[in-house]
């Protein structure tokens, strides 16, 4: 069978199918809903991967975090106040024992702290940091000097300003060397941080002030524990091996026996990626299952309407056999109808699917969503397979009709 002839048969079939618009719509409804869900699922999966990529890029693949407090997510609500298990001594021990494998740093954040310069008031996040924090977090100093060991040792009242703070407090002045007040304590501006922009969660990274760790702990916040440690693994070591060593060391220091829950958590980018995938797994699998159910139900509906259509069109089939259609022609005609309908259902479904893809991020921004052409590719493959699978039986029934019987 040459291509032109097949094309003629196919267009004739499309004509036949859309002769009855209501029936055609019914036939493609299931496919449309299935493909719509599939488009949504593909969108979410793509969104998840995008978000993981962003986080990986943002954190750096060799960077990890150690959090104070036990490992259960269910305790998340209380951990901010209660988790006091990480001490400066832990940090020192990690540095001493693993100095060749990773760089460790600590930072204590406090949100919404009042700051003042002359008559300008503002609020920002204060980070009490050690000198290593800039290295681990890939920060650069744009002007002035960084916080050094000397500042930490002397509990110096110096600070570094993020770009947003500079904009708020020093609209048209050079801040370096100026005196600002953090919680009414005077600090000298030692340097400025190079802007980093916003992070994947949408926070302004430049809305911050850095002060020495010791100053923060003793003069500003009055705490003796660290909530978060960061570490950056050196090139030649594997992050997961280093993670295990950190775990062992901290367990030993905290006297945690085998089988007991740890009082700290270590998070690597791998772990976070896994966590995000797990969290969205239910919605993705559920969506996929629903879309498969919809496709199967849709396929059954399509098949039954097509079977009905075959019995309605017996005289037509007889006529076509009389004027020279072979059994294969009849088979291909009805199969084409099935494929045409499911392809149209797929196009409808992909467009319906774009609604959640573009709407959901606006309504629920925490659900990652991304548009991808894969949706079209999968939709195309699924609908062709569906059209063939559920079209074969009606097409066979049509082609098996004896012309004499059909014409009667």
């Amino acid at each position: 069978m040459n291509f032109v002839r097949f094309y003629r048969l196919f267009t004739h079939s499309i004509n036949a199918v859309f002769g009855s618009k209501v029936k055609a719509l019914l036939m493609m409804l299931g496919t449309a809903i299935g493909i719509m869900l599939l488009t949504g699922v593909v969108g979410i999966s793509k969104g998840v991967e995008n978000r993981i990529d962003e986080i990986m890029k943002f954190m750096g693949p060799r960077t990890g975090m150690i959090f104070a407090g036990g490992g259960r997510m269910s305790t998340a609500g209380g951990r901010a106040a209660a988790e006091t298990t990480l001490k400066v001594e832990d940090l020192e021990a990690l540095r001493t024992r693993l100095f060749d494998k990773a760089i460790f740093s600590a930072a204590i954040p406090r949100d919404d702290v009042f700051i003042k310069y002359m008559t300008q008031n503002s609020q920002t996040t204060i980070f009490a940091v050690d000198p290593e924090f800039a290295i681990v977090g890939d920060w650069e100093i744009e002007a002035g000097e960084p916080i050094d060991n000397y500042d930490v040792k002397n509990i110096a009242r110096v600070c570094l300003l993020g770009a947003t703070v500079v904009k708020n407090l020093f609209p048209d002045e050079d801040p370096i060397g100026k005196k600002i007040f953090i919680k009414d304590i005077p600090f000298r501006v030692k340097g400025l941080l190079k802007p980093k922009g916003t992070n994947p969660q949408g926070f302004d990274m430049d809305d911050c002030i850095w002060i020495p760790l010791s100053t923060g702990m003793r003069r500003v916040f009055n705490v003796d524990n660290l909530r978060v440690l960061r570490f950056k693994v050196r090139q030649e070591y594997d992050i997961n091996e280093v993670k295990t060593e950190i775990e062992n060391l901290l367990k030993e220091r905290h006297k945690i026996k085998q089988g007991q829950d740890s009082d700290f958590r270590i998070r690597t980018p791998d772990f976070i990626a896994k966590r995000i995938r797990e969290m969205t797994k239910t919605i993705r699998l559920g969506g996929l299952a629903l879309s498969i159910v919809a496709l199967i139900v849709g396929g059954m509906v399509l098949m039954n309407i097509l079977l009905l259509s075959v019995s309605e069109r017996i005289p037509e089939i007889g006529l076509k056999r009389a004027i020279g259609a072979t059994r294969r022609d009849i088979f291909l005609e009805f199969l084409s109808e099935s494929i045409a309908v499911s392809l149209c259902g797929m196009i409808l479904g992909v467009f319906l699917g774009l609604i959640p893809v573009f709407l959901l991020p606006k309504v629920m921004p925490m659900i990652p969503m991304a548009f991808t052409f894969n949706a079209f590719v999968y939709g195309f493959i699924f609908s062709i397979v569906l059209g063939i699978f559920f079209g074969v039986q009606p097409a066979r029934r049509a082609s098996k009709l004896e012309p004499v019987e059909a014409l009667r």
Partner: protein, 225 residues
């Protein structure tokens, strides 16, 4: 053109044998206009189906242009019907969802070679049957007589060797019947072979020769004019 030799047809249903044709012999020459006269229930439809290759005889030989059709397979017979036989049915059998023009072009859908001048040819045929004004109408907007004329144009689109008509006027009033029979006369004048199956004497008389069947056999053959 057509030669039937000892054609027998027996139906087997649920182990029961029902013989319908008991040995039919006749010849139809090229360019001839033949009527097959038979009352209903005498194997008329069966004979027509065999002539149209829609059904196979249980016994006997069917020579079409010196070729034994009983030896052809389903696909070969489909191709033969497409190229060499034009059908006209009592109930017209038009597709109501497509236009008159597309109905006429329908057999070309199954032709191996789609002629370049197909549309022109279809319009000429519709012109011949007097429907050139209605090519974009849907068949159900036409009268019975007009529908049958569309069916005749459709039967001729592939320039078949023979036109087979099964009670072509069976569903028409006498005026429309007359129009159809006049068109048959015209087709005959153009040199095409025509076989019309009917039980009406008025229709049969328009042919050159009438073959009368009775009880599954040829009862008599007579020249009309």
């Amino acid at each position: 053109m057509i030669e039937l030799i000892g054609i027998k047809k027996t139906y087997f249903t649920e182990g029961k044998e029902t013989p319908v044709l008991f040995g039919i012999d006749f010849k139809i020459e090229e360019g001839e206009y033949v009527a097959i006269m038979a009352p209903s229930g005498t194997g008329k439809s069966t004979l027509l189906n065999i002539l149209g290759t829609l059904d196979k005889p249980t016994e006997g030989k069917y020579l079409f242009k010196n070729r034994d059709l009983t030896e052809l397979n389903d696909d070969q017979l489909s191709q033969l019907r497409n190229k060499s036989i034009g059908f006209v049915f009592q109930l017209f059998n038009l597709l109501n969802r497509v236009s008159v023009l597309d109905n006429v072009l329908l057999p070309l859908l199954y032709a191996h070679n789609y002629p370049k001048d197909a549309k022109e040819r279809a319009i000429n045929l519709l012109n011949m049957v007097g429907l050139s004004e209605r090519i974009h109408f849907k068949p159900n907007a036409l009268s019975g007589g007009q529908q049958q004329r569309v069916a005749i144009a459709r039967a001729l689109i592939n320039e078949p060797d023979v036109l087979l008509a099964d009670e072509p006027t069976g569903n028409l009033d006498s005026k429309s019947s007359e129009e159809i029979l006049n068109i048959f006369d015209e087709i005959h004048r153009q040199g095409r072979t025509l076989v019309v199956v009917t039980h009406e004497l008025d229709v049969a008389k328009r042919a050159q020769r009438v073959i009368t069947m009775r009880d599954g056999k040829v009862f008599k053959e007579e020249k009309v004019k």
